[in-house]
């Protein structure tokens, strides 16, 4: 399976919040970040939570988001960031 995104790509985390199990924290939905690391394909949590096998598997990425972009008024001049695993089907090019 080929990964859609590569390290350094700009991505947006989809804003979706479906009424089912998923692993994309609400506070990160809509945020823009950069791919920090490409992990392996894994079963989709939305399917596995309800007895499915998770197929087709989706590549998981670690996405880095600057804290200043997440939280209005976050400390001036700080380089702090947040890193999180996001499944490919939750990412859009930005």
């Amino acid at each position: 399976m080929s990964a859609r995104f590569a390290v350094g790509d700009q991505v947006r985390i989809a804003r979706r919040d479906p009424r089912c199990h998923h692993r994309t924290p609400h506070y990160l939905q809509g945020a823009t970040g950069v791919i920090e690391r490409v992990l392996r394909p894994e079963g989709q949590p939305e399917l596995m939570a309800y007895g499915g096998d998770g197929e087709p598997f989706r590549t998981v990425y670690r996405v880095q988001v600057p804290q200043a972009a997440l939280w209005p008024g976050y400390g001036e001049g700080l380089r702090d960031c947040l890193e999180v695993e996001i499944f490919e089907h939750w990412l859009e090019p930005a």
Binding site: P25, V60, D80, C81, L82, E85
Partner: protein, 213 residues
């Protein structure tokens, strides 16, 4: 009669009962569902009661001393350290330790401090750090450490200068995370066992730094 009753156990001795309540019987639908599911899994032979007991013992026997041993090795062995960062499971398993999960190890540097949280639940490398501390599972820590990590670290007594970048790792999916703290100054020549004694559970989560007492 109150739960603080005193009574006479003969010979005139007064016996005070401890106040800890009994382990409560299941009461909610979810608890009954969990019990029924477990009974069915065992009845169908998916796993045995003995498998379950062994797994619980394995997880409960885990302690942060395991994580500390890994860190101490990384502090004295540069090749191991490089492998721990590039292929954590391979490096950790070479010490005879089973992680039970794919791992990522994040390294503290002079210009970068790392801290771990799971905002969705309480994902944690239990085999390396033992059971989660209660605060790691609290809504307070989970909400605040992503929003204001510097304030939360300060409450743990950890002051991070503004020129040092903080990376918060929200461990919400497949991987489990451990911090590789910086080796404290003044520990030149120490052997691994002595170094491991400096590494606390909290420093492996990233809310404190190891220090020479």
């Amino acid at each position: 009669m109150s739960d603080r009753h005193h009574h006479d156990h003969g010979a005139g001795r007064v016996h005070r009962h401890p106040r800890q309540p009994d382990d409560p019987e299941p009461r909610t639908d979810h608890e009954f569902l969990g019990m029924a599911l477990r009974a069915l899994l065992i009845e169908k032979g998916v796993y045995s009661a003995e498998d379950e007991r062994a797994r619980i013992e394995l997880l409960q026997a885990a302690t942060p001393a395991t994580g500390a041993r890994i860190v101490a090795r990384a502090w004295v062995d540069d090749a191991f350290r490089a492998r721990l960062l590039s292929d954590p499971n391979d490096a950790i398993e070479s010490l005879g330790i089973d992680c039970l999960h794919p791992m990522i190890v994040v390294e503290n540097r002079p210009d970068r401090h790392n801290v771990i949280v799971c905002t969705l639940c309480s994902c944690y490398p239990r085999m390396l750090l033992g059971p989660q501390p209660a605060w790691y599972k609290s809504a307070n820590y989970r909400k605040r450490v992503v929003r204001e990590p510097r304030a939360v670290l300060a409450e743990f007594g950890t002051a991070i200068p503004p020129e040092v970048e903080i990376r918060v790792h929200d461990s919400t999916a497949e991987m489990r995370y451990m911090v590789l703290p910086r080796r404290p100054e003044g520990t030149e020549g120490w052997d691994e066992e002595r170094l491991a004694g400096l590494v606390t559970r909290d420093s492996l989560i990233g809310v404190t730094n190891p220090a020479v007492p």
